[in-house]
């Protein structure tokens, strides 16, 4: 009995961990796509950026801040040995783990910002269709580097990263999920706050009516840049957290998992609405776990791998949403108008 109970708890913990990670990534997409109207088809660019940053830096940073003697070992070939040594430090003291976590997050944020700036160059001048293609192209780049440049994350096999929650011992999953949920809550509140600032209102103005936004005297390219950078930072942090949670990283961040699925979650919940992002993410994972549950039974019956049903179903779900309920579950509520521009629009 205990055994089944444990299984359910673990399942729930992992579910919430993934919801939290995706919520952070999705908030990144939301501020770009939902709020500012940028056709972001390359979210995976920032996610993989953060993920690879974690993969590259986590062990190195651990070695550095804990003053571990590497004995001349290379971080790729000696990955397992060195990571294990870092783990013994994070196991000893929660503060060690959190210190490493925070530094990795900051590093990922910096990388995300840089990637955001790079990818914003096309966003400034291209219209949505060209922009979508360009960003899609950007999205593919890091996987190529990750695969071809072994010193980054060890090529196709990847590397493992330290467990920043090793101090929790048997309750590692409780600690990690709680941390992630706190971070996700912070991200959510942060974006909610941004939306309500004058900057956030400008973002919406850009999405709804560029000409009007321009006439208000706002520097459009600059604002777009800011929206992209904020979103990129969040998506990058999400990617780093994903790697830290999973314990390893490989150059396999696909368009499907990190561009299409976030879109799906946003469409499901309602583009633009922040609550919608939350609802969409949570709803999606509920549906997904139901699918997983039935997958188990179907696996034996079908002559093909059940994962293909995922793709088929998801593609169809999004098309159905687009055709029948493009506004999603939670349509965007107009914010309480405080600026003249907003109220004159009403």
């Amino acid at each position: 009995m205990n055994f089944i109970f444990e299984g359910i708890i673990l399942f729930a913990l992992e579910l919430f961990a993934y919801i939290a990670i995706y919520l952070i990534v999705n908030e990144g997409l939301n501020i770009q796509l939902g709020v500012t109207g940028i056709t972001q088809f390359g979210l995976v660019f920032y996610v993989s950026g953060g993920a690879f940053t974690a993969g590259y830096l986590a062990t190195r940073l651990g070695v550095w801040i804990f003053h571990i003697n590497t004995g001349g070992l290379d971080f790729i070939s000696g990955n397992i040995i060195l990571t294990t040594e870092v783990n013994s430090m994070t196991k000893a003291q929660p503060l060690n783990g959190f210190a490493l976590l925070i530094i990795v997050i900051i590093a990922a944020a910096i990388v995300g910002a840089l990637l955001g700036i790079i990818s914003s160059v096309p966003a400034i001048n291209l219209r949505s269709d060209y922009l979508g293609i360009t960003l899609l192209a950007f999205g593919e780049i890091l996987n190529v580097f990750g695969t071809a440049y072994t010193p980054l994350i060890g090529g196709p096999p990847g590397v493992i990263v330290p467990d920043v929650w090793a101090w929790a011992g048997g309750s590692r999953f409780v600690a990690s999920t709680l941390t992630l949920m706190v971070l996700a809550a912070i991200a959510y509140v942060f974006i909610e706050y941004v939306i309500r600032t004058p900057l956030g209102r400008t973002f919406r103005a850009i999405r709804d009516n560029e000409v009007a936004a321009q006439s208000l005297g706002k520097n459009l390219p600059r604002c777009r840049l800011e929206a992209i950078v904020i979103g990129a930072v969040l998506a990058s942090i999400g990617g780093a957290l994903f790697v830290l949670y999973a314990g390893s990283v490989t150059p396999s961040f696909t368009r499907y998992t990190w561009t299409f699925l976030p879109w799906l979650m946003l469409l499901l919940g309602g583009i633009g609405s922040n609550v919608g992002t939350l609802v969409g993410t949570a709803t999606w994972f509920t549906i997904y776990d139901l699918i997983l549950y039935y997958k188990f039974y179907l696996q034996n019956v079908l002559p093909f791998d059940v994962v293909w049903l995922n793709y088929l179903l998801l593609g169809i779900i999004v098309m159905l949403i687009l055709i029948f309920r493009p506004q999603g579950l939670i349509p965007e509520k107009p914010l309480r108008a405080t600026s003249a521009a907003k109220s004159s629009k009403q």
Binding site: L33, G37, T39, F41, V121, P122, N125, L126, S128, D129, Y130, G132, I133, T134, L136, A137, F138, E140, I141, V144, F145, T147, A148, Y149, R255, Y256, F260, W263, L267, L302, P303, F304, D305, V307, W308, L309, N310, Y311, L312, L313, L314, G315, I316, V318, M319, L322, I323, P326
Partner: protein, 305 residues
Amino acid sequence: MPFIAPFTIAETLIYASLLSLMGVGITLLYKTTKVPNFAHASFVTLGGYVNFSLISAFHWSPYLGLPVAFVVVGGESLLLFFLVLEPLRKRKSSVALLMIATLSWHIAMLGFLGAYADSLQTFLRVPTRNVVLSYLDFTLGGLPGIFFVSITVTVVAAVALYFVIERTNIGIALRACMENQNLAASVGINTTRMLGLAWFLAAGLAGVAGALLPMWTQLNTSSGDTLIAAMFCVSILGGLETLYGAFAGGLILAFAQIVGTTMLANVVGVWVTGYEPVVPLLLMAIVLMTNPKGIGGMKVWKRFK
């Protein structure tokens, strides 16, 4: 200048041919339906598996399946167009939504193709991943048959396309739709049917490219995904003003990617070849950011009109 083996040139021309067949469809669809079609990736893959199925199940000669691939993929694209895109277009949906619709269709097709490939493997007991069929090819003067077939097919397609578009009434109607759909409707052109035709042609050509693919390189359910960036690159390089630009775009990208990387490898080392997939991405980004009209839009082409 470093020596480029004739074999490399042959590879480049094969790649250029396949790219052109894929890219011209993207341009055609963009000009008519005003949407970059992400589902093009699965059009190619589907074409590959249609041909592969015919070869594995019925032992067809590898090139006989080309017309079948053309028709099947062309027909499949009509499903996407009429079931998904038309309802959205009628509702005047934004380009972003249309794009995500094509991406969703692609994802669904990935699932379908994956399931299909798995099932085929179960029932026919042949491997359906990393499919390579070059062993079935003929040789002529030391060169593989795919070299002659792909170039011929591409040239024929280009000529046929030119003839239809420039010299027939259907072509005029298509060009009219590309320019102004309301006006086209007001002179009695059934724009929906014209667009359907455009989709059928574009997807058909992509299907043919896919059918040829395993004669040259591996065919996987992910083949389309791997090539989609190159397809868009070709379309953009060729410029979206003119259809035929994609053929030039195919040549340029193929040379840059294969010959260019080879030459670069001779200079800086073999490690460069791992970064080959970046070439289309970079080219595309550069063109889009400096001159979105691509080569087809540049003044030089106006003189040739």
